[in-house]
Symmetry: C2
Amino acid sequence: MSYSHYSTGNTTSPSAPPVPENQSQPGVGYPYQRPPQSQQSNYNYNYGQPQNPTSAGGYGSQYGYAPPTPSFPPGTHPEIIRNFQMVDSDRSGFIDAKELQRALSSGYQQFSLRTIRLLIFQFGNPADPHRIGPKEFSELWNCLGQWRAIFERFDRDRSGKIDAAELRDALYSLGYAIPPTVLQLLIAKYDDQSGRRPDLSFDSFVECGMIVKGLTEKFKEKDTRYTGSATLSYETFMTMVIPFLAAE
Amino acid sequence: MSYSHYSTGNTTSPSAPPVPENQSQPGVGYPYQRPPQSQQSNYNYNYGQPQNPTSAGGYGSQYGYAPPTPSFPPGTHPEIIRNFQMVDSDRSGFIDAKELQRALSSGYQQFSLRTIRLLIFQFGNPADPHRIGPKEFSELWNCLGQWRAIFERFDRDRSGKIDAAELRDALYSLGYAIPPTVLQLLIAKYDDQSGRRPDLSFDSFVECGMIVKGLTEKFKEKDTRYTGSATLSYETFMTMVIPFLAAE
């Protein structure tokens, strides 16, 4: 089964050059990214799970073949399929932002449309930026499960909220070591001017995480030698950044 | 009169090094920015108007002086003062996003909160990112007047909407020559999947314009020799970009 609508490498295969599994990079100079780990290129998506054997299938099928009806990869958990089908009422095989919001929401977990759009942007197909299919939904679901586990680990008092230091540690657990200035900018967004220390719900944590993950991956694509800096043309800079703004 | 809360040079004086008036730069290599014009550093704000004589007054007052109650620069149009005071009901001298939305809205002109937050981010004080005072409001008002005139010039059929090519030309009139790839990313956001060509209201035009203006100015700060490219560390890149996401 192949997915011709899904050929940009934006989901299971991050668009940054993947680090070969188990190959350590001596002297990695990337100051704010943790050293590569085994399975790093899939670390954030399929934590602890084998890589989806169909995930590379779409690459060869983008030239001239009619796209097959999208379906779930073999072995997808029935709960994921049920949740997708529950909101895909016209059985089109695709769900949009509002449908995704319904599919992911429960009493325990609510997502703003803004976070939902960032998720679609991060996991979906840039050429079809308003909806996702079963494969992307499944990957997104698994990623959120992993992020939920990390959020709960750092939400020690089970308040449903984490503070700035816990956000930093949670992002570090996900593989992102962000500088204090960046942490401060992220957290400032949740400052409600009450004088209390800002804290983040799971929704906000996912929003922050998607911003950090997305921008870091984009930057790494341009920093091919892992030096921690990159030379960007004006056009490159603008095209790297605008999709994040446009996604919201 | 000085404004100690207003010392970052983020409004009338763009944070990029200003180009001296009437000094042409031979061989400017900036591929996507129009060649500097006289008054370029204020071109986007005070089109055709003399520079506000008080606008540099805040710079000297940031050390140790108590901030004076914010007030309007001398010569501010009474309509601007009236609109500000109408929404600043507690006379605090500051208005927040919802108040700004009310102050700027009329039957003719409505702004989304998203655009309003981008305006506050662009014109306000980064250290106080949720509200603006009279001086910033006045600058913002004048800028919107200029942008409205340009929007109307390109909205030839008076439909209240402009298309992609008109957006490109309107941004060019404001001093921003954006590459086709960037235009495409900007306009994709307004594609409603109906198959019709996306078009932009004045609200969306301002939103796009603030994104282009803000990111271009940030980039130019790092491209001090106007070569059209800049070398950025990961931290610099992240701190340049995240405020645009956080502002929304």
